[in-house]
């Protein structure tokens, strides 16, 4: 049961507006939380839109719950709850009016659940949505997303614009959703600290390329930050690194082969666990060697 994939992207390619994703494959495991990280404009939103069928890939396939959009679009979307980073609602409606429109779309809509969240989030039912603050708008999105017993929650940057208190509350709500074992959560973020206490798997994308999907411990076991004096660096050792940052005092580098780094440097260098931000930073740095040479 636990190894089922809820989302499967296979060899997906998509190009538009001078941006492209090529041969992109992705699995999102059922019953777990997958955090989707990457810098701005590397294809996170595009990927999410392909998962939601807002964009169709030029080639390759997208399946959700093992179903394809060609024949099962409504069935799939009945089972998804979505939160986007922009407000996608009719701005001139109140939350109560919006609910009346949205609830009719869902077979499993649950009014009592809706009012639970409205109370929990302190949302006004009779104020126009355009008067909502960013935080309130996201809470409203979440309320709508969570009120129809969705099995898959897809969120694009749900925590941006939220204060730290609500961010923590959100994580608690997500933990609660996971209790039944059937709910899967996939969300993009660039606040990587959100991921520590909730994400089981991390999917990292850079420049339209899927760098990895690993669980947090795998990352800790494979990746490492190596710090040491410049005398340790030569062409061979430097090649082992994804990217290196050199200063007059020493170097700092990211490796995806922690064991080898330990063998090579042993006690001579400091080997530490990287943060997700370290991995993002060095991967980006490593991907543009030419620029690095020129600066």
């Amino acid at each position: 049961m636990e190894n089922q994939n809820v989302i499967e992207l296979r060899h997906v390619s998509k190009s538009f507006d001078g941006f492209f994703i090529e041969d992109f494959s992705l699995d999102v495991k059922k019953g777990f939380v997958t955090g989707f990280i990457g810098g701005n404009g590397v294809g996170k939103s595009t990927t999410i839109k392909m998962i939601m069928n807002l964009l169709q890939p030029d080639s390759g396939s997208v399946s959700v719950f093992g179903l394809d959009y060609e024949n099962h679009e409504k069935e799939i979307k009945q089972r998804i709850g979505f939160v986007f980073d922009e407000s996608v609602f009719y701005e001139n409606l109140t939350l109560a009016e919006l609910k009346e429109i949205v609830k009719r779309a869902y077979v499993k809509w649950d009014d009592s659940l809706f009012y639970d969240y409205v109370n929990k989030f302190n949302l006004p039912l009779n104020k126009k949505i355009k008067t909502f603050s960013k935080g309130m708008a996201i809470k409203a999105s979440l309320t709508i997303a969570l009120s129809h017993h969705a099995e898959l929650i897809v969120m694009d940057e749900p925590t941006s614009g939220l204060d730290p208190i609500f961010r923590r509350e959100l994580l608690e709500i997500l933990h609660q959703l996971l209790q039944d074992g059937d709910t899967t959560i996939f969300f993009s973020t660039h606040i990587t600290t959100d991921l520590d206490s909730i994400a089981d798997y991390i999917t990292f994308i850079h420049d339209g390329e899927h760098i990895f999907t690993k669980d947090l411990y795998q990352i800790e076991e494979e990746y490492a930050i190596v710090k040491g004096g410049l005398e340790l660096l030569d062409q061979d050792t430097e090649q082992e690194f994804i990217a290196t940052r050199k200063t007059a005092y020493g170097f700092e580098a990211l490796t995806s082969n922690k064991r080898k780094a330990e063998e090579v440097f042993g006690e001579m260098a400091l080997i530490e666990a990287p943060t997700l931000e370290d991995i993002m930073y060095y991967t980006k740095k490593g991907a543009v060697p030419h620029v690095q040479l020129n600066t």
Binding site: L54, Q56, I76, Q78, F84, Y90, E100, I101, A105, Y106
Partner: protein, 202 residues
């Protein structure tokens, strides 16, 4: 599908009431009800398009369990429904204000013109933005003037004659053919819009 139609009517209810009041004022002023009807039908249709025009709304509709086919066809049904409502309002309005029965032929003709115009406008709006429609109509009008002044100088007369012909048509068969061709045009427009919308990115 029904939900999408219902949604459009709910969202536009205030607008529709306002338009109906405006319609009565025009009828009271005794302006040609045929042209008032055409103008109001198009206005209502445009409103139906603009409420859903923001890309964020398309994201919402397409994330809800609806297919793109349903989204487009519901819009076409709503617009047709609203056009029929406008003509019904004209009929009732004329009866109430002037105590006269509007000829069904006139109403049918009004609907035909409105539907033809809308058939052109809707695919345009799905392809571009409705705000470009003004530009497009100015360009179209310019082209029309150009054609009239340089190529077919009696175009105005020909159109007038065609309209006369349509309005004086007597045989039921001709009417059926006329209505059918308008409906076919509308359905074709729907198919074009769907093709445009099917692969649209939001």
């Amino acid at each position: 599908m029904y939900n999408l139609i219902r949604k459009d009517l709910v969202l536009q209810s205030k607008m529709i009431i306002g338009l109906m009041i405006g319609l009565c004022v025009y009828l009271f002023l005794d302006v040609s009800s045929l042209w008032v009807g055409v103008v109001f039908s198009i206005a209502v249709a445009m409103n139906a398009v603009t409420i859903d025009e923001k890309s964020s709304v398309h994201i919402l509709l397409n994330s809800l369990p609806y297919t793109r086919k349903e989204i487009v066809s519901s819009k076409y049904i709503v617009v047709l429904l609203l056009t029929v409502m406008v003509s019904a309002a004209i009929y009732v309005g004329n009866l109430a204000i002037h105590g006269e029965f509007t000829s069904l032929k006139n109403l049918l003709f009004m609907i035909a013109i409105a539907v033809t115009a809308i058939s052109v406008m809707l695919p345009f709006c799905y392809k571009f933005k409705s705000s470009y429609l003004v530009t497009a109509s100015i360009v179209a009008f310019g082209l029309y003037l150009l054609v009239v002044s340089f190529f077919i100088q009696d175009l105005n007369d020909r159109i007038r004659a065609f309209v006369e012909f349509l309005l004086t048509m007597q045989s039921t068969g001709a009417y059926v053919a006329f209505v059918a061709s308008i409906m076919i045009l509308y359905v074709c427009s729907g198919l074009v819009s769907f093709r445009i919308y099917k692969n649209k990115a939001f």
